[in-house]
């Protein structure tokens, strides 16, 4: 892990999913540290931590189906925040429902990716995310 690299915030309640996601990114040579929020409440609590001086992530991977606050609620709070709404949010979820997709974009998500069941496919996605959001994309400072 490289301390100079900005972290990535993963919001995921299932430990296996969180673990597999971390592994997939590790295998695709993503070096940034991955911080984990295991429910909506924890995710929102990060806003205070950033205020307190913790490093702001370069992007957030957000599951929609979460205990306590739902992913959409987290998304709404983030995107309504005057300071942190600029953080890119990539929704990474099992749901392919039109309603979820529409709502997520309405609330201001930057990307919506349906989580595949197959690990191989997920690996491909992880590579694409890394390439796009860490190398190609220029985020607001």
């Amino acid at each position: 892990m490289n301390d100079n690299l900005a972290p990535i915030l993963l919001v995921e309640d299932r430990p296996s999913d969180a673990d597999l996601t971390k592994r997939a990114f590790a295998r695709s040579r993503l070096l940034n540290p991955i911080e984990l929020a295991r429910d909506g409440e924890e995710a929102i609590a990060y806003i205070d931590r950033w205020e307190a001086g913790e490093e702001v992530p370069i992007f957030i991977l957000l599951d929609l189906k979460l205990p306590k606050f739902s992913g959409l609620e987290v998304l709404r709070r983030l995107k309504h925040h005057p300071k942190y709404s600029k953080i890119p949010v990539i929704v990474l979820t099992t749901s392919a429902e039109d309603s979820d997709i529409e709502e997520a974009y309405r609330l201001g998500c930057n990307s919506y990716i349906v989580k595949p069941v197959e690990f191989n496919k997920f690996m491909e996605i992880a590579v694409q995310i890394e390439v796009y959001w860490c190398a190609l994309n220029t985020a607001a400072r």
Binding site: S16, L20, R23, T94, S95, A96, V117, E118, F119, F122
Partner: protein
């Protein structure tokens, strides 16, 4: 003083001298057939002397009737007698052979004269002229006739009207005499009046003569003695005209009056006859007045059992005719003079007396034909019709308002029903949505652990490849395949449920480009197979949900590819035909086909005809097709023959139908 000489000897009808036609006919028969058999002659005699012929013979002769009146010709009683007597004669079948000779004794005009002169006059007048019946209209003529009978009319029967006191005398006067005897009708009349006025408390008896002799009061007291217990009888006797008028105008209620006989002198000093006096008092009388003389009927009395010259004249004429037709006077019993219940219709109306209460056989005179009486049936008819019409209108109005009420109630009920349906539908929709949300959550939740299974089995295979033997590796592959299947199944189920839930759009779709897209996708994904696609699409365009139609066609084509994989030269033909309301899209393959008995079942969810090993699939694809077609108001079906390929059809309506809406 005026002398009126009566010479009314003229017969009612002059005798005609036409011979009896029957007799003449008979004679002519005799003349024509001089040699008629004796039998015919006997028959002829029999006819000639039969009673009918005798009657004909006797009626052929002229009959003379002499009526002797006691007063002058113009005396009202005589006039009435004369009229009714002649009226009865005229009604007789032999009236033309009757000669009527009225004679007037005029004893009141010539009170002192001896009757010898009259006797001489009559004897000379009727010498050589036989009289068949002599009629005496009162006691005085009867006495005269009885006195001079032998000299004047020795063989003539006498028919008389006499007072009671004269009865026995006359009857014993010898054969050939009969007649009627005057009897008073006080009792009958009063009984009748009391019946018509049952609440009567007082009876006022009106009588009087210029001589003030109380003759009539005396007679009335005698006749009415039996009624004194029933009513109080007050006699208004010999009152001057003015006083009588004022008294009768103020008689108490619950009383009636009986008018007996009253002569009075009027304001100019002229003697008023009894009926004239009645005519003066009746109009202002406060109670109904009953009487006993026919002369008073029409002058103001309600009625009563009436007697008078008219009824008597008619009766004596009847008796006369009987005698003339051959009845012996001795065989005709002496009877009381007729008493007829007679009434004045106007007085019945005035005092509100119903005709139904009158005795049977009553005569009602002076009917006034009012407009109502003349036209009452027309009026009643019109009124009935109007009433019926009104009734009809009322019925119609009631019916109309009932209908209105019913319609309002119906409308209200409809509104309630609609509201209830809306509520239920909303509840049902809620339930459905809940169920769908549940299915959707379950499907998603099922996928999450699958990811773990697949992810870790994959990691195991990759990171621990060396530690695993061949069998262990194959197990992991099976885990991977099963996970894939499971994931596909969940995806298909999600798709199926999403189709149920999602709102369909109305897009304009060009069939040709849709088919091209689907074929292109299929080719790209199934690269290892070389399927020959034949496309026969005309330039049809339809309106529908592009996603749903795309998905349906995609499923058909995938299916066709899958089931023609094992054929040497797979060929898939996509065609379209147009009907007036829809476009039918068909996907035909030359694959394994299916047994037609399953043609409908294959569209059911999870329905498979082949083993999953030979033809992998979840069994949801065709169910999705049918569902989406149903939602769009279209149809999905298939035709096939085992081993000879299959054709799958989509019928898509051209315009918006069914559940499908913009």
């Amino acid at each position: 003083m005026m002398v009126v000489i009566s010479d009314r000897e003229t017969p009612l009808v002059r005798t005609s001298h036409i011979p009896d036609s029957r007799f003449e006919t008979f004679q002519s028969i005799l003349r024509l057939r001089g040699l008629l058999p004796l039998l015919l002659w006997v028959i002829g005699l029999a006819i000639l002397f039969s009673p009918a012929s005798l009657h004909a013979q006797s009626s052929d002769r002229t009959h003379r009737i002499l009526v002797l009146y006691w007063d002058n010709k113009d005396f009202p009683g005589n006039v009435k007698f004369d009229e009714s007597f002649k009226a009865v004669l005229q009604q007789s079948p032999n009236s033309r052979n009757l000669e009527y000779y009225p004679e007037y004794m005029e004893t009141t005009r010539f009170p002192g004269k001896r009757q010898d002169f009259l006797h001489d006059y009559l004897r000379q007048k009727y010498e050589g002229r036989s009289i068949d019946v002599v009629v005496a209209t009162a006691d005085i003529p009867l006495n005269f006739l009885l006195q001079y009978r032998a000299d004047l009319f020795p063989n003539s029967p006498i028919v008389f009207l006499a007072t009671t006191s004269r009865g026995k005398e006359t009857l014993s006067a010898g054969p050939g005499i009969t007649g009627i005897i005057h009897q008073s009708t006080y009792r009958e009349t009063l009984e009748l009046a009391l019946k018509l006025h049952p609440n009567t408390k007082q009876l006022f008896v009106i009588s009087g003569s210029p001589e003030r002799d109380k003759r009539y009061e005396t007679a009335a007291r005698r006749e009415l003695s039996e009624f004194t217990s029933k009513v109080e009888i007050i006699y208004l006797t010999d009152l001057p005209l003015n006083e009588l008028i004022s008294r009768t105008a103020s008689l108490p209620s619950n009383s009636i009056a009986l008018y007996v006989w009253q002569q009075s002198v009027n304001e100019q000093g002229k003697l008023l006859e009894t009926f004239e006096v009645l005519a003066r008092i009746a109009p202002t009388a406060s109670v109904p007045i009953y009487g006993m003389g026919t002369g008073n009927l029409g002058q103001g009395i309600v009625g009563g059992y009436l007697q008078g010259p008219d009824t008597n004249g008619a009766k004596l004429a009847e008796i006369t005719l009987r005698i003339l037709s051959g009845t012996h006077p001795q065989d005709i019993g002496v009877e009381g003079a007729p008493k007829v219940p007679m009434f004045d219709w106007r007085q019945l109306q005035r005092w509100g007396i119903s005709e139904e209460n009158l005795p049977p056989g009553s005569f009602i005179g002076f009917r006034v034909l009012t407009f109502w009486h003349q036209y009452k049936w027309y009026i009643a008819g019109i009124l009935t019709l109007s009433l019926l019409q009104t009734l009809f209108i009322v019925v119609l109005l009631v019916e109309r308002s009932r209908r209105r009420r019913a319609r309002r109630a119906l409308a209200q009920l409809n509104a309630e029903l609609e509201e209830r349906i809306a509520t239920r539908t909303a509840a049902l929709n809620n339930k459905t949505r809940e169920l769908e949300t549940f299915a959707y959550s379950v499907a998603h939740d099922l996928k999450a652990p699958l990811r773990g299974i697949d992810g870790y089995s994959r990691l195991l295979l990759e990171d621990y490849f060396e530690q695993l033997d061949e069998e262990g590796r194959s197990f992991l592959k099976t885990i991977h395949t099963s996970t894939e299947e499971m994931a596909q199944l969940i995806d298909d189920l999600l798709e199926y449920s999403r189709l149920e839930r999602r709102e369909l759009k109305s897009d304009r779709i060009e069939l040709a480009s849709l088919v091209d897209t689907v074929v292109e996708q299929t080719r790209r994904e199934g690269s290892e197979e070389q399927v020959n696609f034949v496309i026969n699409i005309n330039g049809e365009s339809i309106v529908g949900d592009a996603n749903a139609i795309h998905q349906a066609l995609r499923n058909y084509v995938d299916n066709a590819v899958k089931f023609s994989r094992k054929v040497s030269a797979p060929r898939i033909e996509i065609s379209s035909t147009e009907t007036p309301k829809s476009v039918v899209l068909s996907v035909r393959d030359n694959g394994v086909g299916f047994d037609m008995q399953y043609h409908d079942r294959i569209f059911n969810i999870f329905q498979r005809l082949n083993s999953i090993e030979d033809y992998p699939g979840t069994g949801v694809g065709l169910a999705i097709v049918r569902k989406s077609m149903e939602r769009m108001g279209g149809r999905a079906w298939a035709e096939s023959e085992l081993g000879r390929g299959a054709t799958f059809y989509l019928e898509i309506p051209k315009s918006l139908e069914g559940e499908f809406s913009g």
